[in-house]
Amino acid sequence: MLVVYMTLGYPDNERYLEFMEEAVKNGADILEIGIPPKYAKYDGPVIRKSYEKVAGKFDLWSFLPETRKVIGGTKAIALTYLEDWVQELDDFLCKLKRAGLDGVLFPDLLIDFVDDYQTYSTRVREKGLNNVIFTAPSVPDKMILQVSRQSDLFLYYGVRPTTGIPLPITVSSLVTRVRNLVDNKLVVGFGLSDENDLRKALKAGADGAAIGTAFIQAIDNGGVKQAIDLVIKLRSVLDEF
């Protein structure tokens, strides 16, 4: 399962849409759309910079539906911080649904709203959206097991504490642990673009990977073409398994 992340409207509205369209054509299973937050706590410098670059370049609720037009029936989920929307959550979720998204992933749900995560999950589902839950190595076994039952589409497992920085970790043991705990489709993310790491994760039982920073860097370096080449390459790695 290849989950392709892109910051909404990056590097500009046109190329963003071009990338999304091509990504689907070249093997993306699910799209993850980054909505710029006020404070991207759990993102690395590359994604943070991408947020800064697009800030103010579009109206969220009029631009977001454009994505659906180019990706056809492919599942698309929004990635954004609950912190920004918690005061007006129902309204936000309704708007997302109307904008054509299939689900939402709050990376801060289990970290900063742990005591109420069930309430929020329920509200997401009540609005007819898929509730994709983000977990991490620091989440205790018992809690991973509990939240896995409330995660739709797949369980997102961020193996590093931040995106896009290749901090040294032992991918296989990190993945094995969760694989043995849950029945969900397991998608591993956070610094997973390295082919070695990716293979190790898949070998350890992951069902897919979520890649983001690497696409932004590819677009920066060689435009949409280079980013799509990466989609193709990652697809082929995934297909080995």
Partner: protein, 402 residues
């Protein structure tokens, strides 16, 4: 960990540059147990590990308590405190990576001493930025680092941009742990050296867990089941290293973390994201904290002059698993003296905080006629803190005379 809002650079990425790779990997691990490399085990043996677990029988008699009091004596290591337990593996991992020179900062000097010795033991150079006022007031600490082959500089120095800036503003700046840490990190970056970290991080507590693991084995050998586990808290590494193996294995009933009443982080600190360092060079972590700009008053237990408590410990306290106490200098001096005169060992002022809590628990057990087993971590001896005790003694005596 998080990068702060609007960060100019990624603190998390910085870790990758300054920490030995294996240290960072261990920081991020989820393994329940990590094997101590054979090369580190050997050094542990060489410095006298396992440290002794002793019974404070004379103290028990003096208090007339039915409780048994045991203490793990980390002061038995050559550098006189638990700090060597993490300095050795960090130095080893740096060396394994081909590093020939490590750098760190030190306040009171315990950590710098452990770093200097560990570096030497693995054939590396070491550079230690020592808070200037300590450098001047604790010349013995400086001497021992130099004898171990460490280069010691009174911080702020002219060796870093940050140090130069501070000195330009105030040529007589007494220095601070935050400044020294900033200088050490800058120096490590500039010279492509690795930085060794003394407390707070999970990896440090992981290394310190050798204390608790050994204590469990030693208690098992004695056939004792512990009831109360007590330690003092600066950053939390000695307390965590001692108590987490007990907590994780369901051993013991009560865990007490002891801080200084002069730096009342447990009673007045907030549980929030904060910088572990004063300069804000490291990633934000969620912990009980007085705020990273908090200026601690000058107490003798220099190792407890820290604004926060390790995230893991903070969480356990927040969850009510670990309880706490805070004592002031008069209280800990009293406890230290009682311990010295009954057991002979001069405890570090930091460790005397734990002793005070032990005495109160033991007296409580006496009132309740409870035959409990109290175990505490005597994290270091106070032989190099004698001038401090001397000052305390004078103050206490002059208070008594009033």
């Amino acid at each position: 960990p998080r990068d702060p809002l609007g960060a100019e650079f990624s603190r998390i990425d910085l870790l990758r540059t300054i920490l030995p790779k294996e240290v960072l990997r261990q920081q991020l691990t989820i393994e329940r147990y990590i094997k101590i490399p054979e090369e580190v085990r050997e050094r542990y043996l060489a410095i006298g590990r396992p440290t002794p677990l002793l019974r404070a029988r004379r103290l028990e008699e003096y208090l007339g308590t039915p409780a048994k009091i045991y203490f793990k004596y980390e002061g038995a290591t050559p550098t006189g405190s638990h700090k060597i337990n993490t300095a050795l593996p960090q130095a080893y991992f740096a060396r394994e990576e081909g590093i020939e020179h490590v750098v760190t900062e030190t306040g009171a000097g315990q950590w710098g001493t452990a770093t200097a010795l560990s570096a030497t033991m693995y054939g590396m150079k070491s550079t230690v930025f020592m808070v200037k006022v300590s450098y001047e007031q604790k010349p013995m600490r400086k001497s021992i680092m130099q004898l171990y082959g460490g280069e010691v500089y009174p911080s702020p120095t002219d060796l870093t941009e940050f140090g130069k800036k501070v000195r330009k503003e105030n040529p007589n700046h007494p220095g601070s742990l935050g400044i020294a840490m900033s200088e050490a990190i800058e120096y490590a970056l500039d010279h492509h050296l690795k930085y060794l970290v003394g407390s707070v991080l999970d990896v440090v507590i992981l290394h310190q867990s050798v204390i608790g693991q050994e204590t469990i084995a030693q208690l098992d050998e004695l056939g004792e089941e512990p009831d109360v586990l007590i330690g003092c808290v600066g950053g939390g590494s000695n307390f965590g290293g001692f108590s987490f193996p007990f907590i994780g294995n369901g051993r013991g009933k009560k865990y007490i973390a002891v801080a200084s009443a002069e730096i009342p982080k447990f009673s007045t600190g907030e549980y929030k994201y904060d910088f572990p360092d004063s300069a804000g060079l490291l990633p934000l972590v969620k912990m009980i904290t007085m705020g990273n700009s908090y200026v601690p008053p000058p107490i003798y237990a220099g190792g407890l002059r820290y604004h926060g408590a390790a995230p893991s410990l903070s969480l356990l306290m927040k969850e009510g698993i670990v309880g706490w106490r805070e004592y002031n200098e008069n209280q800990i001096f009293e406890a230290a003296q009682m311990f010295m005169r009954t057991q002979g060992i001069v405890p570090a002022p930091e460790s005397s905080h734990a002793i005070r809590a032990v005495i109160e628990e033991a007296l409580e057990a006496k009132r309740a006629n409870r035959k409990e087993v109290i175990v505490f971590n005597l994290s270091g001896h106070g032989l190099l803190d004698l001038p401090n005790y001397d000052s305390m003694m004078k103050r206490v005596t002059s208070n008594e005379q009033r």
